[in-house]
Symmetry: C2
Subunit: 511 residues, 2 copies
């Protein structure tokens, strides 16, 4: 009712020499008051015959009555040079806001309502407060399975879809929080070497010292379009690319901007976000790794199992076969933590080096094996052997070289070519004993302070892991950093968070 017809404010464009990265225009405060337009309101701007939605910011001086301030980046996008006459007008209350209010009031949302939220999100028609209202109400009220399905479909439709002629299309997902858990870079070449397609999109680190995309980037390019991803997979069966570059299910990336500072991950939205990225690459068979541990994202076994069942239930509803493995996430998996150091682990395993990291190899073979069983390539309980065979015969290495090469990297890269920070610090065992625990969270914190993932050569090499017996003076871990000051920060974090806990042998003295 408020906007039954739009009053049109004719305004002359004044270019403001700033890029804001947001779709904001500047109006004179008095003009806004006269037209009942408030700060932060969505309005329309008509340029020639095109209409765009933008947010209003107010100014008393910079923009006079009769003018509209347009920031440089918007000006470029809309092809404005200054001096043009445009129309500014209030926009109707977005349908999506009615849907968000419905969720606040505890109702389930229809397909159309969820589509309206994703569509308005993509068109910049929802403010940060409004997106927060959707996230908070989804957290409190919960999202039903049908709503999650609608959300998945709406997210998939918000971006590009990669389609293949044949099935199956394989994929995997790991719930994060475990340091050095770089299984993707082994699973992809194993699966692809067996002539199955696996178009893997991965994330960059947000709060961890390395995402798969950051790690793969040490060896090859990771930014490809949806079309390029398809081409790569058509040629060599596998790819490891950055999901953020592919423009698949981009709606999720918009929401993460709000979810992150609020530290809110409503289960339904998280589920939709993960599975939309799988559906957008046409995945038919997906293995999900849920690591459990006191310093991992999920601490409790039954919680992990519940999540696993949730994955399978939603998967079934969208025609995606999902296998779940719950794994030990109590300590870091790989020896290396940080992009280069993690790559070194991968290359050593593929090459069969005598110093290879067994836990990472075994976990990767386990996951790959279950995925092979899920897709019907391997018979029940034969997947692990098949995956190990692919590694041990060098077929996985050969495939990885093909993937590196097609993604623009050097297929003959050696461990010694990988960048490593030249500032190092060694943590030595203060006494004889057994390593009881290594905290993922504390290791991640130290590795980030050392410079990872931004500095590819920064991170931590773990030389003694959980369960190992050490004697006084043994090196437990080594920090690598590319600058002395970052090494200093990392050492301070090491002292503060004490990632390594040793068993006490002597519990009490009663002399």
């Amino acid at each position: 009712m408020d906007y039954y017809r739009a009053k049109r404010i004719l305004s002359q464009v004044k270019i403001i020499d700033i890029k804001t990265g947001k779709k904001i225009i500047l109006l004179n405060k008095e003009v806004a008051e006269e037209n009942d337009i408030y700060i932060g309101q969505r309005v329309g701007i008509k340029i020639g015959k095109e209409e765009h939605a933008v947010i209003v910011d107010l100014t008393e001086e910079l923009v006079r009555k009769g003018e509209v301030g347009i920031f440089k980046d918007i000006a470029e996008e809309y092809g404005l040079k200054g001096g043009e006459i445009v129309e500014v007008f209030p926009l109707p209350y977005p349908i999506s806001l009615e849907a968000i209010r419905k969720k606040i009031n505890g109702y389930s949302l229809s397909k159309e309502e969820i589509e309206s939220i994703i569509s308005d999100l993509m068109r910049n028609r929802l403010s940060e407060a409004e997106i927060a209202a959707f996230i908070v109400s989804s957290q409190i009220r919960g999202l039903g399975d049908e709503e999650v399905i609608h959300l998945i479909n709406a997210m998939v439709n918000s971006g590009e879809v990669v389609e293949f002629k044949e099935k199956p299309i394989l994929d995997k997902h790991s719930i994060g929080g475990v340091a050095g858990n770089r299984t993707t870079m082994l699973i992809v070449p194993i699966v692809a070497a067996l002539n199955l397609k696996i178009p893997k999109t991965s994330s960059r680190a947000i709060t961890s010292p390395a995402g798969t995309a950051d790690t793969m980037e040490v060896l090859a390019e990771v930014e490809f379009s949806a079309e390029e991803l398809k081409e790569i997979v058509e040629k060599v069966n596998g790819a490891i690319v950055w999901g953020g570059g592919v423009n698949i299910a981009p709606a999720d990336d918009y929401m993460i901007r709000i979810r992150r500072p609020l530290r809110l991950d409503p289960q339904g939205i998280l589920m939709a976000s993960i599975l939309a990225k799988k559906k957008a690459v046409s995945a038919s068979h997906v293995i999900v790794d849920i690591p459990i541990g006191s310093s991992a994202k999920i601490e409790d076994f039954s919680q992990g199992k519940q999540l696993g069942k949730y994955f399978q239930r939603i998967g079934e509803m969208i025609g995606m076969k999902i296998g779940v493995v719950i794994t030990d996430g109590s300590s870091p998996i790989g020896n290396g933590v940080g992009p280069s150091l993690e790559c070194r682990d991968i290359l050593r395993i593929l090459r069969g080096d005598k110093n290879l990291c067994y836990p990472l190899m075994e976990k990767s073979a386990l996951l790959a094996g279950k995925l092979l069983e899920l897709s019907g390539k391997a018979t029940r309980n034969q997947g692990y052997e098949m995956a190990m065979h692919v590694i041990k015969t060098g077929k996985a290495l050969k495939k990885m070289k093909e993937i590196i090469e097609i993604q623009g990297g050097d297929p003959n890269v050696k461990e010694d070519d990988l960048p490593l920070g030249s500032y190092t610090f060694e943590l030595k065992a203060p006494r004889k004993g057994r390593i009881k625990h290594i905290s993922n969270k504390a290791i991640s914190k130290v590795a980030r302070d050392a410079g990872a993932p931004k500095d590819k050569g920064a991170g931590i090499e773990i030389l003694k892991n959980k369960g190992d017996v050490v004697k006084r003076g043994d090196i437990i871990l080594r920090i690598y950093s590319e600058s002395e000051s970052k090494l200093g920060y990392a050492i301070k974090a090491l002292e503060e968070f004490k990632p390594v806990v040793m068993d006490k042998i002597l519990l009490e003295e009663m002399l």
Copy 2:
């Protein structure tokens, strides 16, 4: 854990010639990435020995590495001229965010937690998304009475408090939504004429065609400091000022910026917001008017009664005696709708003009009477008579003149001096009949389109009200506007929303 020690980024100040009205600084995107600072994050900035909290915006070009962009208004506030070296550093996760997360998870908040939210709100340490998270979770989870009390106290402490030596201090509040419901401008002079203190703060219109502050502004100044408000009331017992100018309970004004676009008014927050403004002027006896009607804010009688009880319960807990009257809010109360037209109603009533608006006079005397009874000035059921007597003997007019004068207006103002728009339109009865209903919402919409409250002389004069019998051609209402185009908008709104509904006499013809 994320910010156990702050890395300090030394940066040279670059002044950006824009006023944003928000505490935002600009950082170079690369610098932010290197330091794990994301867009929209709160950081600290240390200038000399002082530290301030600001929000980060990112730029790729405008600010180089080693620089920090400071907008003009912040530069003025912090005394920066450009070129200074300042420190930028991440701030710890605000305690208030933990409190907001607790509310999201359904827990009650302690005094300290609620204080942290209001304090961080006042210090610009909460983003719009975070404030929205608090409002949405308060709406869904609800606020307990104790939480509302904490909120009232925290809001009161966020601003100035007006204190008086004697008691009682009287006050009133009307739930909005009824056009022409300008009782405050009669209740204040009635009460003050009886030597009781009533330091009334009122709001400006947000979505209505006139708030009491907008209307009083036709007659006198309304912007006064807390100290001036106190002085005025000490001298003449009554005042009618704009609450937004007094700096009482300002925390609420911050929240309204978010509540308004979301159209969310969680009951507990609304209650706290209303009563904090009363407590901040030391009110001891308050009358609350709850109008009920299909086009008012509250449509249902039992809902109104519940709200009334809620007012009384919370009032008792903070030592404030609250009387509640539930009134007929089905149609506009005054003849005038819009600042000048409403003033005309007030002056006519005070002067005893033959064209005075009886419903407005009676309702005002009823409310004033109940307030007098509540405070012990009048005995039970004698308040109305006492109030009417004050009006009819001219004592209320005399007092109003004193208030107008002390607030800088002309005490001898006549109705004819009031500005009235010269563009008018008359709605005439199309046939004989009885007025069945006049919609508050539709009347407000038409009056706003005519220019109210910004144009003081714009609005609607209602000549025939609910229940009146009219014959064909009788003028039902007259629209006043200060410009032809706005009159045009108002006429269109009149046609679209049809605020006047007439009884059908002939229901069906069977000839």
